[in-house]
Every structure is written in C-alpha cells, then in structure tokens.
Subunit: 191 residues, 2 copies
Amino acid sequence: MQPEHFSAVPLDKSYRLLNHGPTVLVSANHGGISNVMAAAWACVLDFGQSPKVTVVLDKATYTRELLMASGEFALQLPIKAMVSLTVGVGSDSAKEVPDKLTKHGVQLFTAPGSSVPLVAGCVGWLICKWIPEPHNEQTYDLFIGEVVAAWADERVFREGRWYFESAPDELRTIHHVAGGKFYATGEPIQG
Amino acid sequence: MQPEHFSAVPLDKSYRLLNHGPTVLVSANHGGISNVMAAAWACVLDFGQSPKVTVVLDKATYTRELLMASGEFALQLPIKAMVSLTVGVGSDSAKEVPDKLTKHGVQLFTAPGSSVPLVAGCVGWLICKWIPEPHNEQTYDLFIGEVVAAWADERVFREGRWYFESAPDELRTIHHVAGGKFYATGEPIQG
C-alpha cells in the first residue's frame, strides 16, 4: 500500500529531489527478494526528459547483485526520523543478516506501474533503469541509472520545489558525513 | 597568499569534505588562465589512500577545457556568505564574460606544492588529478579525479570532522536545488 501524500514528480523536475546532495537508500528486487542499503555517494548525472543518476555500490553488496539481475533500482531519501534505519541498513549486509529489513523496521511498497521496492517513510523516490557500463562498474563500482519515474511526499516537495521550511521538521532529509554522523538539510537561502 | 585557518586534511579523511553533498566550485588553470564554475553534481567516488571524486562538466564550459588541457582541477566548498558568488560564476561563462572572476569577486590563491587555483573564502578544497575516461566524458560529461591534496578551514573542519554547529553560522556549506535556491547545511544528527 502506498504511503499517504505519495505524489508523482514530473521527470524533468526529478533531479531536484537529489540536487541538494542528501544521503539515499538504494533498493532493488529480483526473484521476489528485496534488499535496501544506504549510500551517501549518489548524484545527479543529467536532467531534462531523460534524467540520470550515478550511485556507487560496492561489489560486496547484495543490492548490487539484485540491481544487476533485475536491471532496475530505486534511490530514495530518508528523513531525520529514519537515521537509525539508515545506519542499520547501511551497516548490516543481507548476506550476513538475512532479516535485516525486518530488523531495522523497513517497510516496502511499490508505485503504480513498477515492481521496484520502495521504502516507506522517505520523502522522495527515483525509480531507475540500469544503464550497464561494465568498465565503470568494475573499476569504480560506479552505476548509472536513467530515472523512469519519480515520486515525492507532497507535504515537503510539490510543484518541483522543496518546502522543508514549512513542513514538519522531522521530514528534513539527511546528509551523512562519516561514522553515523549526519547533518539535516538546513535553512533556505535564495541566491 | 593563503587564507587564514588554511589547514591540511589527510587524504584518507578528504572524502568527508564532500560526503554530505554540498555544492562545489570547480577551478582550473592552463597557460596562465584560470576559471571557476559552480557544480551541484559532484560526488565522492572512493575513499582511503587514493580518494576519488566525480563531477559533471558541460561541454560548453571553459573550466572543462582548462581541466583537460592541464590535467588537474580543484573542487571547493563555498559557504553561505558566497551564495551570490556561486550563482554568479555558475551563470556567467568566461567565454562571454571574460572578466567573470573579477565581476563576482573571486579571489584565487594556491596551496603549497600546487599550481591549481583555489577560491578564497571556501571552507574545504580538494585538489585533483584528472583520470581521463573518454567514454564517460563524451557520453555523460562525467569527469573523474583522484584527490592528491586536501585542505580545510580549521575553524569548521579539523581532525577529520565538521564543526558547523560550533563555528560561525556564515561558514555553513550550501546545497543547491534549482534556480539559485539553496539550503544551508543544518543541524547535526548522530545515528
């Protein structure tokens, strides 16, 4: 079941979900098995009508295997209230902790027209089709995806804009530094 | 002349300057000509003793030409007080506005042992050696660099950690969304 406030984002505005550099959760499913990991190294690669993203996925991760087997994945933006979940799914590997999603309270759902697992409680979701680039993947663990659908929590992102300053404080996105220390997205500044 | 508080960052901690996803200024010099542009699409690619970064540089930018001619560049982190400068150097091209650095009040300096131009007033600097990847550059405008030296303003980053919460507020880094709207780096959260 989709969360409340789950609202479609036009493709040409989807880069704005990621442009401010938040830490993301990466999810994928293959053969009925879903996994979720955390990644601070995700970035916009292109905008417009064929938006693209990059994300670095270590060879040891199970999510990378599911992504490569299924050809699709999602990046999504956890919020302040999900810091423990984010650290948990970023620390435990499903290879050693098979019930890691349950252990860390991850609830999954799917968007209309897609079977990619999405994490409930996030405020932005980018559903991506993998663009295979074997050299990047082998040499740098660098993956490229084309965004094929995007969604946001309309309380905090609507009409192509973030509204952190007027939304509930716990909906702010988070930016990992190291060792479980994050900074929340802060005050708006108009240049 | 180097700015005050300019302090070396060990290579294995340098990724922490960029890990929280701030918008950066990209600088390069060739043949005595320096340029600076803004980029929100910069990201850590690797850490450890050979840290790497990615940055997306449009084919139309002059900084890209200087980078490719010289083989080196820098990423640096502007602060709240530099929002106008950041929007300015991100909007004007040196190809049309030859005096864009002067126009936007950019002051350059160099670090010991390097000739890469660095922007004064920033709080973190990553000096990078270009790793040529022609397919990525042509297809995606995606550049990879190896960090060969890193520096920070010790008032806000020292011993491998950010101290935004105890430093002067204007030293916070900035995260661009779109159209000159930024969010400052916000409150710390320990996961």
